[in-house]
Symmetry: C2
Subunit: 500 residues, 2 copies
């Protein structure tokens, strides 16, 4: 793609001044419309060193009210970031609705310069490219406008600029040995950039390559692209809200995952029980085993994500407690998931889960999860049909990311039948010390048992993958459920450790 | 204090079992009351290596529902934490109302082991102790129950335990060279621990020293203390809500700060203006200067905190924009402060500002600030009188922390008179492209001009300190205000750089 850029063009000052003035006014007004229309805008800048990224970003944001945008600079990952999946730090900083986020460098550094400077295997590179495309598609589907700018200069121009920076003692520190190395091997980097730009130039997130030799034309290019694209995106958003297109539920990426077959809830026998004496022994035995495994996980820096879903009063809390009790408190966290707050609602629904991905070697136990999207949000109409249809695939992709990163993923559906739930609800209602556990909402949800059962069956069918299968835990007898959950967890961890 | 601990006591198993069973039941029930009564509980564990912290924490939390507590482990500060004030990472993890936070190590490592292992000057040590006491007092005043446990064992016992850990290949990695060094120099550490425990044993956050030789009595000690103290704190909280004690406004710590005199708003002459031509020149000149200074700040890793307060329609936004325009977008952030959300309301009011303290070398521009406590929250009754009376002192202490850390703090009151505000409100109302800027709330606030003026005068009088003085910026002429704010900021930064 780079060869098509005309690096020789020049814009005269008068023309620039006129055009810039018009575009600046447009951009200022557009920011308000971004806010009013709750559009999320992510503008990322990548390109050659000294191509002018910093100063072009400064110039662009002068047009915006500082309260409506953020600039995020991504340099080398710090310690905390290195202990998370590659995309974690980028997900953390995606824009909220109505917000403009400007990224100075981005996830592209992990597949461009990293190709030549880290020892990336071909398969790892392929995986990263796929992850990035998936993330961009997910953000775009959620209504985020992605604007990707690549600033292009040639080898000679870059050399000249480095020399100029070095000549001034205030700016000399900005040119590093790495920069010179990249200039020397310009051709190799050119090949890599060109290949990545081509591969990631998608419908939902096309590249805008800007020639960086002439500053005037670069500014106008960027201004115009930003203004035009924001306008188009707002129109599209308005149109989409008025006339939503609903596709059938989506499950897999084109690349495909293997789905694992899971029985329907109605096929589950709930008669399983455990004798109190055997429970005591088996619980202790399983907890001791898990304790030792936690130590190994910590040392091998393997993260674990445990997802708990299940019927109200099925015994999730007590089950989680028995798992947690076996873990070193310094290495796990229980994350209760309630209805999203205002700020969470203004982001992609996976954002708050991405934010809570554990560190390597740590265990995150989610008490309710991202599956809310295809259960309560689907049933209560908290998201559009189009959105929850899309979610199966997005969730599979999310879990695939975690799995590829090295995480053990264990998902539990804690299961009871409707009569047992009624019995437990009544017991809670009639026991003063347990009344806080039961709310009006629980009764309302209970009335929708059939709708939920239907949604759960869909969820089990569409999101049970070979890397993150669902486990149905029969919890009519809570003690049986606790031992079973521990055993499933232990076996998943042992499988993972065997692969080390 | 340590010499008073009886390390020889022993509890027999039968007695332990009986007592533990009763206390465990009490603790389980108390967690619910903590939630219902919205008590924040912070339990911190410190003590000798191998004294049993980890296993005692595990034991304690078994009594709680994992959804209502968090364990936070504080080891050496990571890169991101090192670029913030010492207390930053602890503030980030304080418990919300109704939540129990368990800290495995805490801020005490920064004044105990650090005394012997880092080259801490005496004055820095004194400062740190003072900061910690201040933080504990602030949390306590806000209704947080602070439970501080120190686990004590003697040198011989510690040696025995290290050896035992080393004998097992699964636990050998837990004993480090540092641990052995500490054991060898036990006496020196003893002296330091004892001194710090004595100095920080306050009414609002007393120490509970637990003999760690006998596990049974240690468990019972901790169980009983936690149960008794939570019960007492809940009673106290209920009592305090029913019968609040209101003290007059507090300003300074006993140690005292120097307050700087600031005129009352009514004494400010608002006739100051600037010629359009001179404005253009001076603005450019000031922005160029600031740009260069930002570079220096970045290289010297000096953080800057800019606080903007002012009347509605006084021109805060435009003023911020002119400052921001001179800064490198990779090194500053504009932080708009709206009404606190649910989660923020459940924390100490300074929590959300502590979270947003900039990194060293970065600039944080707050568009509205922590002063909301003594303005809108005071006037609208969003907090108790007692709370905003306390706030002047707390805010001075907060800013002192930032200043001692090395930050430049610049606070602006953007000022216009009531007639000018009316004129601007009407102009906004009558200009379609500006109507979004004016809301019903603005009109309601305007009706309370006199109350606000009174509150602002108090604020200026009580929180203008030598390390963080207020600057009143006359903004009847917005252009004049912009240049003045830039000049004030430049001068504050230059003063700070001169002290390097």
């Amino acid at each position: 793609m780079l060869e098509k850029v005309n690096l020789k063009r020049v814009m005269i000052k008068e023309e620039y001044k006129q055009e810039a003035a018009l575009l600046e006014e447009r951009l200022g007004l557009l920011q308000q419309r971004v806010k009013q229309n709750k559009l999320s805008v992510l503008i990322l800048f990548d390109g050659w060193g000294a191509a002018g990224k910093g100063s072009l970003i400064s110039k662009l944001i002068l047009n915006f009210d500082p309260r409506g945008f953020r600039v995020q600079s991504f340099v080398a990952a710090d310690q905390a970031e290195q202990r998370r999946p590659l995309l974690w730090r980028y997900w953390n900083h995606i824009p909220a609705q109505g917000e403009i986020a400007v990224f100075d460098r981005s996830w592209y550094q992990d597949i461009t310069t990293a190709q030549l400077e880290s020892s990336l295997s071909k398969s790892e590179l392929k995986r990263r490219i796929q992850s990035i495309k998936t993330m961009e598609r997910q953000l775009s589907d959620d209504g985020t406008l992605l604007l990707k700018f690549f600033l292009h200069i040639d080898q000679k121009e870059q050399k000249k600029r480095f020399e100029k920076l070095e000549d001034n003692k205030n700016t000399a520190w900005r040119v590093t040995a790495q920069d010179w190395k990249r200039n020397k091997h310009y051709d190799e980097y050119y090949r890599v950039f060109d290949q990545v730009l081509t591969e990631t130039n998608t419908d939902y997130a096309p590249w805008h390559i800007v020639g960086g030799h002439d500053r005037y034309s670069a500014v106008i290019d960027i201004y115009r692209t930003v203004a035009d694209e924001i306008e188009a995106a707002i129109e599209q958003r308005v149109e989409k809200l008025a006339h939503p297109v609903v596709l059938p539920p989506q499950i897999a990426s084109p690349e495909g995952f293997d789905l694992v077959s899971v029985p329907k809830l109605s096929q589950i026998s709930l008669s399983k029980q455990i004798e109190p004496e055997r429970y005591k022994e088996e619980l202790k035995d399983a907890q001791d085993t898990l304790k030792k495994l936690h130590n190994k996980l910590y040392r091998k820096k393997i993260p674990v994500v445990i997802a708990y879903e299940g019927w109200d009063a099925a015994g999730k809390g007590g089950n989680i407690k028995r798992v947690a009790a076996a873990l070193d408190p310094r290495g796990y966290e229980v994350i209760p998931i309630a209805a999203p707050d205002k700020n969470e609602l203004a982001h992609h629904y996976l954002w708050r889960f991405w934010n809570r991905v554990p560190k390597t070697g740590h265990v995150a136990i989610f008490d309710r999860t991202w599956y809310g999207r295809v259960m309560v949000e689907r049933i209560e109409g908290f998201c559009t049909d189009e959105a929850w249809h899309r979610a199966y695939r997005e969730i599979n992709e999310f879990e695939k990311e975690l799995s590829d990163w090295g995480a053990v993923i264990v998902k539990f559906w804690i299961h009871i039948d409707s009569e047992e739930q009624l019995r437990r609800f009544n017991e809670r209602q009639n026991t003063p010390s347990k009344q806080w556990k039961i709310t009006e909402e629980d009764w309302r949800n209970r009335d929708k048992w059939d709708q939920y059962e239907n949604a759960v069956n869909d969820m089990l069918q569409y999101t049970s993958t070979d890397f993150a299968p669902w486990h149905i835990i029969e919890s009519q007898d809570k003690k049986f459920a606790r031992v079973k959950a521990l055993r499933v967890l232990i076996s998943a961890i042992e499988d993972r450790l065997d692969r080390e």
